[in-house]
Amino acid sequence: MSVVQAAHHTLTPLLEMRGISKAFPGVKALDQVDVILYPGTVTALIGENGAGKSTLVKILTGIYQPDGGEILVDGAPVEFGNADAAIRSGITAIHQETVLFDELSVAENIFLGHAPRDRLGLVNWAAMNARAAALLTSIDAPISPYTRLKDLSIAHRHLVAIARALSVEARVVIMDEPTAALSYKEVEDLFRIIERLKKQGKAILFISHKFEEVYEIAEHFVVFRDGRSIGSGLLSQTGQDEIVRMMVGRSVEHVFPKVDVTIGNTVLKVSGYSHPTEFDNISFDLHRGEILGLYGLVGAGRSELCQALFGITRPSAGMVELEGRPIALHSPRDAIAAGIVYVPEERGRHGVVLQMPIFQNISMATLGKTTRAGFLRQAEEFALARRYAERLDLRAAALSVPVGTLSGGNQQKVVVGKWLATRPKVIILDEPTKGIDIGSKAAVHAFMSELASEGLSVIMVSSELPEILGMSDRVLVMREGRMAGTWRRDELDAETLVRAATGNV
């Protein structure tokens, strides 16, 4: 483990996190991480999805309580029992999707929860609007405090979110992927604001996937991997290669039971597939028995591509051929009938009906098989459910218990069981192991291998590099809705994929 020593700084730290740990059932989200923030300095927090960045932000803002370690502000230990306590210590965060209120004015949004009051305890509107105007001027935001939020553009909403973060006496500002939704010009505006905050002596924690931005705005960096702080130091003394290595550096081959499968004929051929806003000109072939990994950053358009292939969203151009015949995908019904099924990322929202029993969920997409002339045949439904439950090693008290009572991994097995019952040709798995404990993860991976060896073609969307590297026969990388390249299994390495996904070629 190469720890770059934090640089010789003359400044005293404004905020120190020492040995912070946080565990959730089945997963250690943070394991003794150290982060130091200095006044007037931007520190970039870098790491893959799932490296523990969001957990750290939640601890700093008082949403989670750490299991171990300590937080010091100005050298004095503090404890944040709730979000309010963090704000009172001068820590504020701008999230990827800050919750704002469409129907309220800009000033109300900025001061919601801490509006200036008059002697009677009523909202002092004049003071609130004046302070909002001053705050907006201080960040060069050309917005009137009286405007309703719903009338603002995305970029201007973002400025309101920043003003809101600064409306408390903030000394530490956390920016969690602030540029994700911004155009190039808007990013420049944001950086000007950050420069201004630096001059005011605030410490900034900047979370971003984009290396060019990180190198432009930040002085310090911390790299997280698997919930541990792997390295930290000065960006001016550290090359991009070294940071990429810190992000991904681990041997991954041992965890994933991908067996070698003879790859057969082309099953699915996608050409020139485009969507008005989400993806553009995607073309690939998928073969029998093949696992195609779909890698990219969050928001690269991978899920949207898969949902178009499943008939949920309509593409604007392009063609899909299944076993040589062009197919029309207007609805999930069409896709299922053609033999394409989709295991969605948001299991509880899109994958299963949590309130309904296991057997009814498993039979949901194949009611034609367990009914006669439209009438349900319970014995056959239970038989079908039992077949897939046993094949997937489902752990449940009974087949009639609601799916909502199962663990995440077992819920996922129900979704997969539902689709296998349709005897598909192509199965699309969107983040199949997200939020699943380690044991179930291995089971899901083993099962994917088994499916491929039985001749099923698999598309696996994943943001987890080890999973992509371990499971895929081929990887297609997407960046900002476009194809950034395809690599065969023997050409794969983590750094190439990260570079392609982040545009840091």
């Binding site: 039971p257 991908k258 929202r349 949901m364 449940a396």
Partner: protein, 348 residues
């Protein structure tokens, strides 16, 4: 590359169900409703000497049969996460159309066709706005509630249509003993045509909801419309069909009610939409969608009918009856929740 060897364990047996059918019934809402129905029946028979008279009881079934026919369709609609508040207005419009046709000299079969047709069209209109355009059903059907009844009001003004053909009276006033094939057993002579229709529709909707793929779709949509869509269920088409069904059942109720009253005013069936929804909710249908049963709604219909009838025998005015129904609804909803809370406190 080293493989992770997963231990091959013996296949774990998962039972189909945990509890026995009897055990499930005694913990159910239906069991509670049945107990309430029996209690009210006994209380009524003590309260009034006229209660146990077969002809009186037969008369009492009119208190719920027509509303229950709509409530069955409404049950499916509410389970799917939608609602139709225009059902009473559909009755008014269908009844007005039948009245106008009767004035023009049409006979019973044509009137039935018109009643069902108007119900179907109104249901299709609601369904189109909700399932096709994507408007919220509560807003749409509050709108069509005024619209449908407004048309009836314009056509009728303060007048009333009467003069329905005698053959039309059969639906709302007929007894099964009018048929030669009906068994002449003691007690059977008081069974009304509507009562038999109630039983048949209860069976049809019970089978549709509980024993068909369509019924499964209804539950899936009501619990999680996204997951239903992602499973290939035609969500919007199913919802459209449910609005059609509710419209048609309102048409059926309009035929029965018009036939029974023998006249149509624009205020016909005023306020029924709330009684129908109340019946469904009392029957254990979650107003948020996703759960409920037809047997529950059948029991709720009987409970509401018995309450109305018993209070009527005691000469309690109508407004007190609605107070009583309201209290009953709150009580029956609150009881299981309160019991659960007390139990969990005792456990803690």
């Amino acid at each position: 590359m080293s493989m992770l060897t997963l231990e091959k364990q013996p296949i774990r047996h998962i039972p189909d169900k945990l509890s026995t059918p009897m055990g499930r019934f005694f913990g159910s809402w239906e069991a509670l409703l049945a107990a309430v129905a029996i209690a009210i029946f006994i209380a009524n028979s003590f309260a009034s000497p006229h209660f146990l008279d077969p002809w009186n009881l037969s008369d009492a079934t009119y208190n719920f049969t027509e509303k229950a026919m709509i409530a069955f369709a409404m049950t499916l609609l509410i389970i799917s996460g939608e609602i139709d508040l225009s059902v009473a207005a559909i009755i008014a419009l269908a009844s007005t159309a039948m009245g106008a046709a009767a004035q023009a000299g049409f006979q019973a079969p044509a009137l039935v066709g018109i009643g069902l047709g108007v119900g179907l069209l109104c249901g299709a209109f609601n369904g189109f706005l909700v399932a096709r355009i994507g408007l919220p059903s509560i807003v749409v059907t509050i709108g069509t509630m005024s619209l449908f009844r407004g048309i009836a009001q314009i056509v009728l003004g303060d007048r009333a249509y009467g003069g329905y053909p005698t053959s039309f009276a059969w639906f709302g006033q007929g007894y099964m003993s009018d048929f030669s094939w009906w068994p002449a057993l003691p007690g059977f002579e008081v069974v009304t045509v509507e009562m038999v229709a109630f039983v048949i529709f209860a069976l049809i909707f019970g089978i549709l909801l509980h024993w068909t793929a369509f019924g499964r779709w209804v539950y899936a949509i009501g619990n999680n419309a996204f997951a239903a869509q992602f499973s290939g269920i035609p969500v919007q088409r199913t919802k459209f069909a449910l609005f059609l069904l509710t419209g048609v059942m309102s048409g059926v109720a309009a035929i029965c009610l018009t036939s029974r009253l023998g006249s149509t005013r624009h205020t016909i069936a005023a306020g029924w939409e709330l009684e129908v929804v109340t019946m469904a909710v009392l029957g254990g249908v979650s107003i948020l969608g996703g759960s409920g049963t037809i047997p529950g709604v059948v029991l709720a219909a009987i409970v509401m009918g018995l309450v109305t009838f018993g209070l009527g025998l005691l000469n309690v005015p109508g407004i007190v009856m609605s107070i009583f129904i309201g209290l009953l609804l709150i009580l029956v909803i609150a009881l299981p929740i309160v019991v659960r809370r007390i139990r969990s406190k005792a456990a803690a």
